[in-house]
């Protein structure tokens, strides 16, 4: 077992879930409640990682965050180091890659909150942000749990994007799935088998957890 990879993977998944909680909640609220027609475009872009091969997404992220891109250069001028092939770069990629898994259950969940409760909140003098925090989010707990579990699990399982953007640097970007690939390449089937079995067990537990949450009334398996 590559415990270093396990630790890194959990750290990455936790950080991705935390960052997405900040981004996905307002984004999902906007998508669920806006009347603007072009929100369809945003919805489509958010859903892209569901259908795009991870290598394609990874390629664009590699180019977009590389030392020659404006973002890459800005980052280097800010921190002195590159963005690609680092944990931070991997985190940015993970956040984008897992965005639909966080946003879609939240949109479904938010849209399921009785619109009159939001109107009652507005009539009582509260802003949309306050309504989101005080009414919509508290009434969407199953959706929030689904989103968190899916994001975490999806990040744990990602491979293509990690390989493209992160590479294979022990303790920095080598996640569990890269470690398995590495072991197989080195013909170390015992190590690959142990790690794979662990990941299989983990995924199964996560799915059981998610489905039991959904059965308790939480909507939100991603709509591809």
């Amino acid at each position: 077992m590559d415990w270093q990879a396990v630790g890194l993977t959990i750290r990455l998944a936790a950080a991705t879930t935390a960052v997405l909680a900040l981004i996905a909640v307002p984004l999902a609220a906007w998508l669920a409640f806006t009347r603007r027609r072009w929100s369809v475009v945003v919805e489509g872009v958010v859903a892209l990682p569901l259908v795009l091969p991870p290598t394609v997404l990874g390629f664009y992220l590699l180019v977009g965050m590389g030392s020659r891109s404006p973002i890459g250069r800005w980052w280097e001028s800010l921190t002195g180091g590159p963005l690609v092939f680092t944990f931070t770069g991997l985190l940015v990629a993970s956040v984008l890659y897992s965005l639909p898994f966080a946003v879609q259950p939240l949109v479904a969940s938010f849209a399921g909150v009785d619109p009159r409760l939001r109107e009652a909140s507005a009539a009582l003098g509260r802003t949309s942000a306050a309504t989101l925090a005080r009414v919509v989010v508290p009434l969407s707990k199953p959706g929030l749990a689904t989103a968190a579990v899916l994001t975490f699990a999806h990040t744990v399982g990602e491979f293509g994007v990690v390989l493209m953007v992160g590479g294979n640097i022990a303790g920095e970007t080598r996640t569990v799935s890269i470690s398995i690939y590495d072991s197989v390449q080195a013909l170390d089937y015992t190590a690959a088998g142990t790690t794979s079995a662990t990941l299989l067990g983990f995924s199964l537990i996560v799915l059981l957890l998610t489905y039991s949450l959904q059965r308790r009334g939480g909507p939100g398996w991603p709509r591809a």
Partner: protein, 361 residues
């Protein structure tokens, strides 16, 4: 505060102009059949709907106008939803305190207490919302709407979600709560009893228009046109032709029967087409043998077509040359032995006969 509401609105089915002096008549009822646009109008007033073509001013404040839409949260209104819309994840006190934006935290409990007491719901303070009965939820919703001291209260069929006995009980209390709150209110309903028990003034809506505004008794007994007569469920509406006016009474020929009404200040010309409207509760039934012939009453001789018990009263359909409906009490039905085919005399005072202009078909 000079509270007057001025509305000029074209939105979905709505096409109306309305000005209400909320000082002289604090409780206004929007009355009309379902689909007439009452709730849509209320939502526009609240700022929950954003009409494209509207001018709404309250007091000196423009709520909607060209390029302007004041959002609901800044209108300082209280809104009561049909199904109460209490926040299910908050207890009663938190619901009532929800709108106390900007009030100091330590002042809130007292404000919550006061609002609950005024709505007769002080004992419910610490209950979770889910355990409330319909009537209790209604009181809490009222307390929640009133707690932030709104300048206008909007109520959308506030009693319709309640069971019949609770509705009957709250119907009597609602008006006293609204008056005690000292906040002008606009209430939407299609229930005549609720409208009469609650409103200082009724605005009758039909097909997105306000057709008549007036005191409850006036609107329900003296509709201004046929659409309003239908909307207020006038029991007898029959076409007639004006014969002439003498001694302050207009004579109308209704299918060969003479009906007399009090002449309006501007009496209709002989030969003009009218609709004769008579409320069923204004019709008294007498046995044929003992009817006197005093003048301001119409004595319409005919027979009973059907007798139908309806709640506390009995609805009697008569044929007096034209179909006429009457409400009588059960003792009256038994005394007269009312049954289909029985000859009777229907007495209707001339002031209870209301004439509405009719455009011939």
């Amino acid at each position: 505060m000079a509270a007057s509401l001025s509305v000029s609105l074209r939105h979905r089915i709505l096409d109306l102009d309305l000005t209400l002096d909320l000082e002289r008549a604090p409780v206004t009822v929007l009355f009309g059949p379902s689909g007439s646009g009452k709730t849509t109008l209320l939502r526009c007033l609240a700022g929950l709907d954003r009409p494209a073509d509207a001018r709404i001013t309250f007091g000196g404040e423009v709520w909607d106008g060209p390029g302007r839409h004041l959002p609901a949260r800044r209108r300082r209104i209280g809104y009561l939803f049909q199904e109460h819309a209490l926040f299910p994840h908050l207890d009663v006190a938190a619901n009532v305190g929800y709108g106390l934006v900007g009030m100091r935290r330590r002042d809130r409990p007292a404000a919550i207490e006061e609002a609950l007491d005024r709505a007769g719901a002080g004992h419910l303070r610490d209950q979770p919302t889910r355990t409330l009965s319909g009537g209790e939820a209604q009181r809490v919703a009222l307390a929640r709407a009133l707690a932030p001291q709104p300048q206008l209260l909007l109520l959308d069929e506030p009693l319709s979600a309640l069971d019949a006995p609770t509705r009957a009980r709250l119907r009597g209390q609602l008006r006293s709560w609204l008056v005690a709150a000292g906040v002008p209110a606009i209430l939407v309903t299609h229930d005549r009893a609720e409208a009469m028990a609650t409103g200082d003034r009724i605005a009758v809506m039909v097909d997105g228009e306000v057709r008549q505004v007036g005191a409850p008794a006036e609107v329900f007994s003296f509709p201004s046109d046929q659409l309003v007569a239908d909307a207020v469920d006038m029991e007898t509406v029959v076409p007639g032709v004006v014969l002439g006016t003498e001694q302050g009474l207009v004579g109308v020929d209704v299918s060969g029967t003479l009906v007399r009404a009090i002449a309006p200040t501007d009496p209709p010309d002989p030969g003009s087409d009218v609709l004769v409207c008579i409320r069923a509760e204004e019709v008294a039934l007498q046995a044929v043998a003992d009817h006197p012939r005093d003048s301001p009453r119409n004595h319409l001789v005919g027979h009973v077509r059907s007798v139908t018990p309806e709640g506390p009263l009995v609805r009697v359909l008569l044929d007096v040359g034209f179909p006429l409906q009457a409400f009588v009490t059960r003792p009256t039905r038994d005394d007269l032995g009312l049954a289909a085919g029985l000859p009777v005399v229907a007495a209707v005072k001339a002031p209870a006969v209301h004439l509405v202009p009719r455009t011939p078909a």
